[in-house]
C-alpha cells in the first residue's frame, strides 16, 4: 500500500484536520510534560476504576464527539444551504453524514448517558462502587478505543460512506471497496464490547449493590431507567455484535451472508440492524426520561407524580421496543398484514410515553418551580418531545410512511426526539450533577444564554425539515436544484444549525469560565434535591459513603432532611474500614491491543490483528492471575476525609 492510499489526500478540509490533530497532540504532550503531569495522568485517571472518574472521562469523550459530530452537521448544513452548491462533492458529503450519524448515536449519545449513569447511579443507590469496577474500566477503554478507531478513518484510509445504517449491498465489498466500511465494523464492534459489559455491570450493580434498605420500588427514577436500559442493552447488543461480525466476515474473508452473489441475503442485514437499532433508540431515551424525572421533581419541589406508572411505562416501552423494528422499512413490501402489525405495535409505544408526559406535567402541578438551567432544559424537552412524538405516530402509520420514508420528514422526526430527548437530557444532567462531579456549579447566566440560543436554533433548524419532507426532499442527497423549491427552508435550517453551534460553544466556554470563577461548593446539596447522591459531602470521597445511608422511601434524601428538620438527628456511629478495589493499568493496555487488532483488520494486515489479539489474550491471562483483592481504607483516613468535607 502506498502512502497516499494510507493517508487521505487531496482535500483542503482534510489537510486542515490533519494539522489541527497534530497541533492538539503536540499541545497535549507539551502541557503534560511541562507541568510534569504524566504520572498524575496515569495513576489518577488512566488506571482508575473509580466509577466517578470513569464517568467524567466518558463525558469528556462524549463532549469531544459531540464537537466532531456537530462539525459534521454544520458541514452538511453548509452544503445544503443553497442549491447546486459545490462546497462538498457527493462522496465527501456521504462520508460526513455517515460519520455524523454513527458518532452522534454510538460515540456521543450513549457514552454521555453512560457517563452520567456511572457518576450518579452508584451514588443514588448508596453503593461505594459498581459491582465489577475492573470491568467498568474495560468498558470505558474499549468504548474509547473503538471511538478513536472510527474517528481516525477520515485522515487514514478514508471514512465509511454507506450511511450509519450501512445497508448492504451498498456497504458490501463490491459496492464499497475501500477500508472505510471496515472502520465502521471494527470501531462499532470494539465499542460494542464496552457497552455490553456496561449493561451487565450496571444490571448487577443496581440489583445487588443497593443499600439493603432500598427496595426496588423505592429506587430513584434515574436508577430505574438505567436498570431497564441495561436489560435492553443485554438483549439488543449481542444482535449488533453478530451482525457486525457477519459483515466483517463478508468483507474480509469472503463469506456470503449479506452479499448479492452466491445466495447472500442483503435484507437480513436490515432486519438484524434494526432488531438492535430500534431498542438502541430506547437505550438512549430511557436514561434521558430518568434524568428529566429527577430534575423536574427537584425543581418543582415535589415528589414524582405516579411513580409506579412511570416505572411500568418504561417496562412497557422496553418490551415494545423489540417488537417494532420493521417500521424502519415498511417500504420493503412485506405485505399488508406485516405492515399493519408493526404499525400498531409502533403506535402503542405512544401510550406509555404519553403517560410519562402527563405524569411530568402533574409533577409540576402545584409545585414551586425554579427555572435553573438544568430545569429549563428539562422543561423545553416536554413541548419539543411532544412534537417529535406525534410525528412519530404519523410515521408509524405505514400507509402514510410510504410518503415520509427516506425524506426530511423522517430526519426532522428523529432529530426532534433524539435532540430534545437525549441531548437536552445530557445538558440538563450535566448542569444538574456538575457540582457532584467537579465541586462547583456551572454558571447559570451563561447556561441560560446557551440554553435559549440552542433551543431556538434547534427549532429553527429542524421544524422546517418536516415541511421539506412533505415537499419531497429526500434525505442523504448532497445537493438539489433551484427548481425544487427547497431553498428558503434550507436557509432557515442552516441558520438554526449555526445557532445550535453557538449555543454549544457557550456551553463549552461555560465549563472553562465556571472552572475559573465559580465558587466552590460548601455543601453536597446545592439544589435542595431529593435522592441519595446529594447526601454525599463535597467533594465526594473516593469511597462515596463513610456510613451506608438508609433509604426510607423513593426520595430517600428528602426524607432524611425532613427528619432532620423535625430534630431526629441520626445517631453517630463509629467508622469501620472500607474495602475498595485497586486501580489497574490492564484495562487501558488491553484496549490498546483491541485497537491494534482492529486497525490491523481494517487494512487486512493480518500480522497486526494477530499481534493485537494475542495481546488481548495476554492481558486477560494477566488479569486472571491477578490476586489483588483491593485494599481497606483505614478509619483514620475516613475520619480525616470526613473532617475536610462539609455537610
Amino acid at each position: 500500500m502506498k502512502l497516499d492510499e494510507f493517508f487521505v489526500t487531496g482535500d483542503p478540509l482534510i489537510y486542515g484536520a490533519d494539522v489541527s490533530i497534530a497541533l492538539t497532540m503536540i499541545g497535549a504532550i507539551f502541557v503534560l510534560t511541562y507541568f510534569k503531569k504524566w504520572k498524575w495522568l496515569w495513576t489518577e485517571w488512566l488506571t482508575t476504576v473509580d466509577h466517578k472518574k470513569l464517568g467524567v472521562m466518558y463525558i469528556i469523550a462524549a463532549v469531544l464527539m459531540l464537537f466532531r459530530g456537530g462539525v459534521d452537521a454544520l458541514l452538511m448544513r453548509a452544503q445544503l444551504t443553497v442549491p447546486d452548491s459545490s462546497f462538498l462533492d457527493a462522496n465527501h458529503y456521504n462520508e460526513i453524514f455517515t460519520t455524523h450519524g454513527t458518532i452522534m448515536i454510538i460515540f456521543m449519545a450513549m457514552p454521555f448517558l453512560i457517563g452520567l449513569i456511572n457518576v450518579v447511579v452508584p451514588l443514588q443507590i448508596g453503593a461505594r462502587d459498581v459491582a465489577y469496577p475492573f470491568l467498568n474500566a474495560v468498558s470505558f477503554w474499549t468504548f474509547f478505543m473503538g471511538a478513536m478507531l472510527f474517528n481516525i478513518s477520515f485522515v487514514i484510509g478514508g471514512s465509511p460512506s454507506a450511511g450509519w445504517t450501512s445497508y448492504v449491498p451498498l456497504a458490501g465489498l463490491e459496492l464499497s471497496p475501500g477500508v472505510g466500511q471496515n472502520y465502521y465494523l471494527l470501531g462499532l464492534q470494539i465499542a460494542g464490547i464496552g457497552t455490553l459489559l456496561t449493561g451487565i455491570n450496571f444490571l448487577v450493580t443496581i440489583l445487588k449493590m443497593r443499600v439493603p434498605s432500598m427496595k426496588l420500588m423505592q429506587m430513584p427514577m434515574f436508577t430505574w431507567s438505567s436498570l431497564i436500559t441495561m436489560v435492553i442493552i443485554i438483549f439488543a447488543f449481542p444482535v449488533l455484535t453478530v451482525a457486525l461480525a457477519l459483515m466483517t466476515f463478508d468483507r474480509l474473508f469472503g463469506s456470503h451472508f449479506f452479499t448479492m452473489m452466491d445466495g447472500g441475503m442483503p435484507m437480513l442485514w436490515a432486519n438484524l440492524f434494526w432488531i438492535w437499532g430500534h431498542p438502541e433508540v430506547y437505550i438512549v431515551i430511557l436514561p434521558a426520561f430518568g434524568m428529566f424525572s429527577e430534575i423536574i421533581s427537584t425543581f418543582a419541589r415535589k415528589t414524582l407524580f405516579g411513580y409506579k406508572a412511570m416505572v411500568y411505562s418504561m417496562v412497557v416501552i422496553a418490551g415494545l421496543s423489540f417488537l417494532v423494528w420493521v417500521h424502519h422499512f415498511f417500504t420493503m413490501g412485506a405485505g399488508g398484514a406485516v405492515n399493519s402489525f408493526f404499525s400498531i405495535t409502533t403506535m402503542l409505544i405512544a401510550v406509555p410515553t404519553g403517560v410519562k408526559i402527563f405524569n411530568w406535567l402533574f409533577t409540576l402541578y402545584k409545585g414551586r418551580i425554579r427555572f435553573t438551567t438544568a430545569m429549563l432544559w428539562s422543561l423545553a424537552f416536554i413541548p419539543n418531545f411532544v412534537i417529535g412524538g406525534v410525528t412519530g405516530v404519523m410515521l408509524a402509520m405505514a400507509a402514510a410512511d410510504y410518503q415520509y420514508h427516506n425524506t426530511y420528514f423522517l430526519v426532522a422526526h428523529f432529530h426532534y426526539v433524539l435532540i430534545s430527548g437525549t441531548v437536552y437530557a445530557c445538558f440538563a444532567g450535566l448542569y444538574f450533577w456538575y457540582p457532584k462531579m467537579f465541586n462547583h456549579r456551572l454558571n447559570e447566566r451563561l447556561g441560560k444564554w446557551s440554553f435559549w440560543i440552542f433551543v431556538a436554533g434547534f427549532n429553527l433548524c429542524f421544524f422546517p425539515m418536516y415541511f421539506l419532507g412533505l415537499a419531497g426532499m429526500p434525505r442523504r442527497i448532497y445537493t438539489y436544484g433551484i427548481g425544487d423549491g427547497w431553498m428558503s427552508l434550507n436557509v432557515l435550517a442552516t441558520f438554526g444549525g449555526v445557532l445550535m453551534g453557538i449555543g454549544f460553544l457557550i456551553l463549552v466556554y461555560n465549563i472553562y469560565y465556571s472552572f475559573r470563577y465559580s465558587p466552590r461548593e460548601t455543601t453536597g446539596d446545592p439544589w435542595d434535591a431529593r435522592t441519595l447522591e446529594w447526601s454525599t459531602p463535597a467533594p465526594v470521597p473516593h469511597y462515596n459513603f463513610a456510613h451506608l445511608p438508609e433509604a426510607k422511601g423513593h426520595d430517600a434524601f428528602w426524607i432524611m432532611k425532613e427528619e432532620k428538620k423535625q430534630g431526629k438527628a441520626p445517631e453517630k456511629k463509629p467508622y469501620k474500614p472500607i474495602h475498595m478495589p485497586s486501580y489497574s493499568g490492564v484495562p487501558i493496555i488491553m484496549s490498546v491491543f483491541f485497537f491494534t487488532a482492529g486497525f490491523g483488520m481494517v487494512f487486512s494486515w493480518h500480522w497486526m490483528s494477530i499481534l493485537g489479539l494475542v495481546g488481548v489474550l495476554a492481558t486477560m491471562v494477566i488479569r486472571s492471575f491477578d490476586y489483588d483483592k483491593g485494599f481497606y481504607v483505614s478509619v483514620e483516613e475516613i475520619e480525616e476525609t470526613e473532617k475536610k468535607t462539609t455537610l
Binding site: N94, A162, Y167, P169, E174, L175, S176, M260, P266, M267, R301, K302, T303, G306, A309, T331, M332, G333, G335, G336, S343, I344, L348, G354, I357, F358, L361, F362, L364, Y365, K366, R368, I369, F371, L379, I382, V386, V390, V393, M394, M397, A398, A399, A400, Y402, Q403, Y404, N406, A456, P464, F467, L470, A471, G472, P474, T479, Y480, S488, L489, L492
Partner: protein, 316 residues
C-alpha cells in the same frame, strides 16, 4: 417560556407561508390521494394532542413558578392520582384506535389496484434501479426506456420493482408513496395518475455516490398520446444485450428508448448476480450468456410465457 411559544408561532407562520407546494399533500393520483387524506386526518389529531399538552404546560408553568408562589410556599405531597392516570392512558388508546383503523384499511387498499379504475387491466411496467439510473420495461408493449416513463392518465399501473445492485426506492411523490427495489426480489406497487402532467420520480434510498442524480421524469398523458408514444417507441433501435450490459455499469446516462426489453435475458427480481457479473467481465457477450448457469436459462424460457403471470409467482 412565553418567548418560546412566540418563536414557535413565528416559525409555523414562516414555514407555512414559505412553502406553498407540499408535493405530498398535493396528490395527482388515487394512491397519493389516499395517503394525503390519511396524513391530513392524522395531523388533525396530532394538533389536538399538541394543543392539549402545550396549554396544560403553559398554564402550569405560569401558575406554579416560584416567582409567583413565593419562596415560602411548600408544595403538597402528591403521589399520584389513579383516575387521572387512567384518563391519560385510555384517551390515547382511543385516539390510536381511531388512527389505526384507517391506517390498516389504507395499507390493504394500497396492495390492490385503485378502485375507481378497477375495470381496466393495469399496465405492467418493470422498474429496475441500476447504479445510478432507472430502467423501465414495458413487457406487453415490448419497449424499454431509461430514466423516463410515459403513462396514460386514469389507468392503473402495476410497477414490478427490482434492483440490479444496491437497494433503491422507487418514488414518485405526486403519484404515491415509495417502495424498495431489491436485487433478487420483486416487489409490486400500484400507482395511477389522474391528471395529465410531468412528474418527478427518483430513487429515495441512498445508493452511494450517484444517488442524488438517480432521477427520472414521468409523463402522464391522454390515452391517445400514450398510444402514439408507444408506437413511436416500438420503432426505436432494438435493445441488444451488449447495449444493456453497458447500462449495468455504474454511472449516469441520458434518457434512452429501445424496442424489446431486457427481460429476455435477465429478470433482476430473480437474479441478484447479473450486474455484478457484467462488471466483473463474466458475461459481456451473448455467446457466453447462453452457456450461463441454469437460473439464467430458466429465465429466458419463462419469459416466453405470459410474463405477468410468471412474475406473479415469484413476487414478494
Amino acid at each position: 417560556m412565553k418567548s418560546f411559544f412566540a418563536l414557535s408561532m413565528f416559525l409555523a407562520v414562516m414555514v407555512l407561508s414559505g412553502c406553498s407546494n407540499l408535493t405530498v399533500l398535493d396528490p395527482k393520483g388515487p394512491v397519493a390521494e389516499q395517503q394525503a387524506n390519511l396524513i391530513l386526518f392524522s395531523i388533525g389529531f396530532m394538533l389536538f394532542i399538541v394543543l392539549v399538552v402545550f396549554v396544560l404546560f403553559t398554564l402550569i408553568l405560569v401558575k406554579y413558578r416560584e416567582r409567583k408562589s413565593g419562596p415560602e410556599y411548600e408544595p403538597p405531597h402528591i403521589e399520584g392520582n389513579v383516575f387521572l392516570e387512567i384518563v391519560w392512558t385510555v384517551i390515547p388508546v382511543i385516539i390510536l384506535i381511531v388512527l389505526a383503523v384507517p391506517t390498516v384499511q389504507t395499507i390493504f387498499a394500497l396492495e390492490e389496484a385503485p378502485e375507481a379504475t378497477s375495470h381496466k387491466d393495469p399496465i405492467v411496467i418493470h422498474a429496475t434501479s441500476v447504479d445510478w439510473k432507472w430502467v423501465f420495461s414495458y413487457p406487453e408493449e415490448n419497449i424499454e426506456t431509461v430514466n423516463y416513463l410515459h403513462i396514460p392518465e386514469d389507468h392503473p399501473i402495476l410497477f414490478k420493482l427490482a434492483s440490479a445492485d444496491s437497494m433503491g426506492s422507487f418514488w414518485i411523490p405526486s403519484l404515491g408513496g415509495q417502495e424498495y427495489t431489491m436485487s433478487g426480489m420483486m416487489t409490486e406497487l400500484y400507482l395511477q395518475a389522474d391528471e395529465i402532467g410531468e412528474y418527478r420520480g427518483r430513487n429515495a434510498n441512498f445508493t452511494g455516490e450517484g444517488f442524488t442524480e438517480q432521477v427520472f421524469t414521468v409523463t402522464a398523458e391522454s390515452q391517445e398520446d400514450y398510444d402514439e408514444w408507444v408506437e413511436e417507441a416500438q420503432d426505436a433501435p432494438k435493445l441488444t444485450q451488449e447495449k444493456y450490459n453497458e447500462l449495468m455499469l455504474k454511472g449516469h446516462t441520458e434518457e434512452q428508448t429501445f424496442s424489446e426489453t431486457h427481460l429476455q435475458w435477465v429478470d433482476h427480481g430473480m437474479d441478484a448476480e447479473y450486474a455484478t457479473k457484467v462488471r466483473n467481465g463474466e458475461s459481456t457477450d451473448e455467446d457466453e450468456s447462453s452457456e450461463m448457469d441454469h437460473s439464467e436459462m430458466d429465465h429466458s424460457e419463462m419469459n416466453h410465457d405470459d410474463s405477468e403471470k410468471d412474475s406473479e409467482e415469484h413476487s414478494h
